[in-house]
Symmetry: C2
Subunit: 256 residues, 2 copies
């Protein structure tokens, strides 16, 4: 790529989150950066889009770099749609989403606003990567990720991400020198076992908090969960064709 690539940056933790601020700094070293991100946290929004209410979007005055920034009232997927179809003059060469404060490995990809933004870009034909750190702390240390994110992004721009595939990159919570390397993985078969914390409000009405514990039933050594536990960065190539192609033959034997 001769001229500097146009890079769209978004996330689900909101435009002021330390994770996206770090990602913007890294992307400024690689290309021309436009940020279109939610004006408030949108975690666990899955692939929600706003169809029954209006969207607001404001250009932000930026003092920490050459990037353009827009703050939007919608979901992460809305931000990508708005960026691509309304705000950007041309199709971006890459969309990066994150750095998410928390894991998007394994089944978390389904609930992830970070990955929904990357998937939305992928659906629109834009190469896309979601980056997440296994640390929910707002003040997590993103510095150990910098060189790896630059390397993965540069390689993606040079080689090209496979068609209709979006990269889901997760980082273990480790110091840079402790990270063993990068593994290409499959999504581990795991799920959340929910526990609802039932309480009574001051007016006597019952309500719930959703809590849960993550259960990994997958013993494979080719999964994202395995890689992360062993101290590797995991990259799962992720697709939005959800067809279980291997089941079509079996279903054709049904009496329908």
């Amino acid at each position: 790529m001769k001229k500097r690539p146009l890079i769209l940056v978004t996330n689900d933790d909101g435009i002021t989150a330390p994770g996206i601020r770090t990602l913007i700094e890294i992307m400024n070293e690689i290309g021309e950066v436009v940020v279109v991100a939610p004006d408030s946290p949108q975690s666990a929004m899955g692939h929600a889009i706003t169809i029954n209410s209006t969207l607001h979007c404001e250009k932000i005055i930026v003092t920490d770099g050459p990037q353009l920034e827009y703050s939007c009232s919608g979901t992460p997927a809305d931000c990508v749609k708005l960026a691509v179809n309304e705000l950007l003059g041309r199709k971006p060469d890459l969309c990066v989403s994150g750095i998410n404060h928390g894991s998007n490995s394994s089944i978390n990809v389904i609930y992830s606003g970070t990955m929904s933004a990357a998937m939305e870009a992928g659906i629109e034909g834009i190469p896309a990567i979601g980056f997440s750190l296994l640390d929910f702390n707002w003040n997590a240390n993103f510095n150990p990720l910098r060189s790896f994110i630059k390397q993965i992004t540069t390689e993606a721009l040079t080689r090209g991400i496979p068609k209709d595939v979006v990269l889901n990159v997760n980082f273990p919570k480790l110091q840079e020198e402790e990270i063993k390397g990068i593994k290409i993985c499959r999504q581990a078969k795991a799920n959340w076992v929910e526990k609802f914390d039932k309480r009574t409000n001051p007016m006597g009405r019952e309500y719930y908090w959703l809590t849960g514990s993550f259960v990994n039933q997958d013993r494979g050594e080719d999964t994202d969960e395995w890689a992360l536990k062993e101290g590797y960065i995991s990259i799962v190539p992720t697709q939005f064709d959800l067809t279980a192609h291997h089941s079509i033959q079996q279903l054709n034997t049904w009496n329908l």
Copy 2:
């Protein structure tokens, strides 16, 4: 299955929507029915879950059948989590979601609250089916679907849905006698091309409505879009392992 199966019914259009009321009637003929559905419309919510606010859930007094009903403040995925982990005494034998007012074929599966509820059940190990009618009208005619839904549900209970697969069933907007039959399909490769309708509010602030047109680039005659257009009911076996397994080898050649 000797005893009557326990069937969890949910949707994304809200517990009062005509689509779910029809589905409850049909399921009452097949099994013991518990309804746990959103108290208000949750269309296009994708796989959102509620982690940063509280959930309310009220038992409803029912006069139109033997089913138990709960109305919940959360998303479709929340409803399934709450049903399975808090409200139901045992694991349901089946979860059905819908009947959605509008299409969930092709890429719409990604944005669909109806399918996110079914997928959530699938993730929790419960056989699950999402039903949708290609008619957004609140007063759509669901009667032509009744015998087909009963047939598909009975067959699913008898044969068993393949493991880690959720059925995405879409109905064309046709009279019963016009429906040609049922096809097992793959998800068509299509997407929405958005157009943002930009307006100015009475206070002079700009805002947007998200609109768009659906573009099907897929010429295959094995897709859901093809089947629906030809007058068939489409069933796509859908999975929540999003790994693009075929891309792992290619990504392993990257310099990482």
